[in-house]
């Protein structure tokens, strides 16, 4: 048994941190010789700042934020290693019943098809402009988030410029439903369980799961402070090993009750156990969807430079980052599989490419061409 290593980890109360919670609460981390302190945080900005100054050794982090924090694209620079993908997908786009009715009236085709709803949204926006109505407002959770990119990609495929044709605003996930109910936003993209909460309260209609826009999209990563990973790789590896055991546990259907009960705790997600359980089952708006929320395990949790490049392309498209060979390779280095590979052995699984519902497919080798293929993007 190794000497005990202390690790302080910040998280945001969300179901997609389940592998980390289970790793700690089921004692897997302790068996790896880790003494983990989990700290529930109220904002992604806090997590980034505390990683920067070393309050945290690691964090449950938005995948694009790992790149933004490392490259210093917002506020404070906090170099991290995206050591393991904790979750893929898991978000959904929900709209108000009013907007849903307008979309249904304008839609030509199946409302389950994002291409159809995006074109319908364009129609709705145009008719609002003619009436001089206020622009529509959509909520998302953070500028550097898959939620932001999912909304933008979807809208742009319908011919909407998300920077000029409507308002995109950041809201803390627990405030989303309330804002939708009060008409402050007309729709949002958020993670579990807030879409289901909006729908069951009758204030929102779930339009698309995130996986209908991109699949599989890297959503949350186990970000380890770069300094910690460099100086003490054994600690990073022990943490990954514990989280992989956590992932296996969470993915096993027979453990769903216990996982849901554990996540329901006030110092974890703090939500109703039944709602959490439905998310774990991938039951979404009544239907089963195995891609709804995927927990990263040894087969699919490997961080890959490809994912980083894809994320960096989304950032570049929307003017959050500048596409240069240096910056791109710095972004790719954030998704460093070294520690993951040391844990899982040498057979590296191929990373599944991120497929979008429409538009040109992404090629890591030619991001310029990928970006040039989109008529709508931020001004360079």
């Amino acid at each position: 048994m190794n000497a005990t290593r202390q690790v302080k980890i910040g998280f945001i109360p969300l179901v997609d941190a389940a592998s980390l919670f289970v790793a700690v609460d089921k004692g897997f981390a302790a068996e790896e010789g880790l003494d983990v302190e989990l700290v529930r945080e109220v904002s992604w900005s806090n997590i980034r700042d505390r990683l920067a100054i070393g309050h945290y050794d690691a964090a449950h982090l938005l995948a694009p934020m790992a790149i933004a924090a490392t490259l210093g694209l917002s506020h404070v620079r906090a170099p991290v290693v995206a050591a393991m993908t904790l979750a893929m997908n898991g978000n959904a786009i929900t709209v108000s019943p009013d907007l849903y009715a307008s979309l249904a009236a304008a839609a030509e085709g199946d409302l389950g098809d994002p291409a159809v709803t995006a074109r319908a949204l364009k129609e709705v926006i145009s008719s609002r402009e003619k009436r001089n109505a206020e622009p529509l407002t959509f909520g998302m959770t953070f500028p550097f988030s898959t939620h932001n990119y999912q909304l933008r990609y979807w809208m742009a495929e319908g011919g909407i410029n998300p920077d000029t044709d409507l308002r995109l605003v950041v809201l803390p996930p627990p405030y989303m439903v309330d804002n939708l109910a009060k008409g402050q936003v007309d729709g949002f993209c958020v993670g579990a369980p807030w879409n289901a909460v909006a729908e069951s309260a009758g204030v929102g209609v779930i339009l698309h799961p995130g996986s209908a826009i991109f699949n599989p999209a890297p959503e949350k990563t186990l970000a380890i402070r770069a300094q910690v990973a460099e100086r003490d790789p054994a600690r990073a590896e022990a943490l990954i090993r514990a989280c992989l055991r956590g992932a296996d546990y969470v993915r096993a259907p027979e453990n769903r009750d216990e996982t849901a009960a554990l996540l329901a705790h006030a110092d974890r997600v703090g939500a109703d156990a039944q709602t959490v359980r439905r998310t774990l089952e991938g039951r979404f708006g009544g239907e089963e969807n195995k891609d709804y929320l995927i927990f990263g395990d040894a087969a699919c949790g490997r961080p890959d430079a490809y994912q980083a490049a894809w994320l960096y392309a989304q950032m570049s498209r929307w003017g959050q980052a500048r596409l240069s060979p240096d910056a791109l390779s710095a972004a790719k280095r954030v998704f460093d599989p070294t520690f993951f590979d040391a844990v899982t052995g040498t057979a590296h699984p191929r990373t599944a490419p991120v497929a979008a519902f429409s538009g040109s497919s992404f090629h890591e080798q030619d991001i310029e061409a990928y970006l040039d293929s989109f008529a709508i993007r931020a001004a360079r």
Binding site: W44, D49, A52, P135, V169, V170, Q184, A378
Partner: protein
Amino acid sequence: MKIVIIDESPIRSAILEEGLREAGFVDVERIDETHNLLKRVYAIDPDVILIDLENPSRDELEQMFQVSRAVRRPVAMFVDQADSASIQASVDAGVSAYIVDGLKKERIKSILDLCVSRFNAFAKLQNELERARSDLEERKTIDRAKGILMKARKLSEDEAYKLMRGAAMRESKKIAEIAQSIITASELLK
């Protein structure tokens, strides 16, 4: 220079506002309630935004770095990245600052230093209050236990206290803990 304070603790934000005014920053506004935050911030159109770190709305401010229709005035870094001591001190104190581009670094530094010292002063005050409250609780517990002993063992107040103190010393516990066990025991024996 216009400064806005976003803090759900009205006492703390009042303390901070007072400090800023004393330091000559007279144009200070407070937002205690974070509903529709960004709209309010834009209505005030501040040069400096101070926010407490327990505030979930902090992420809302982060989009001011972005260029979009929702953002009228992009915000710059709050202190020089190299100045990690400032970041450390402000995070430790529980406050963060956002500064609109174009302000002099020295002025920002003085505001930030003031924030840190006022936030720390508030935390100290809170600790002291907390301690005073628990001291009071302890005294109440000891008085109750004293009463029980006086009645049960026909002791004077002084003797009852000495008895508890003796037990506390033997068991290396606090008198309040001994008092609490006396109360618990007497309730069980009722």
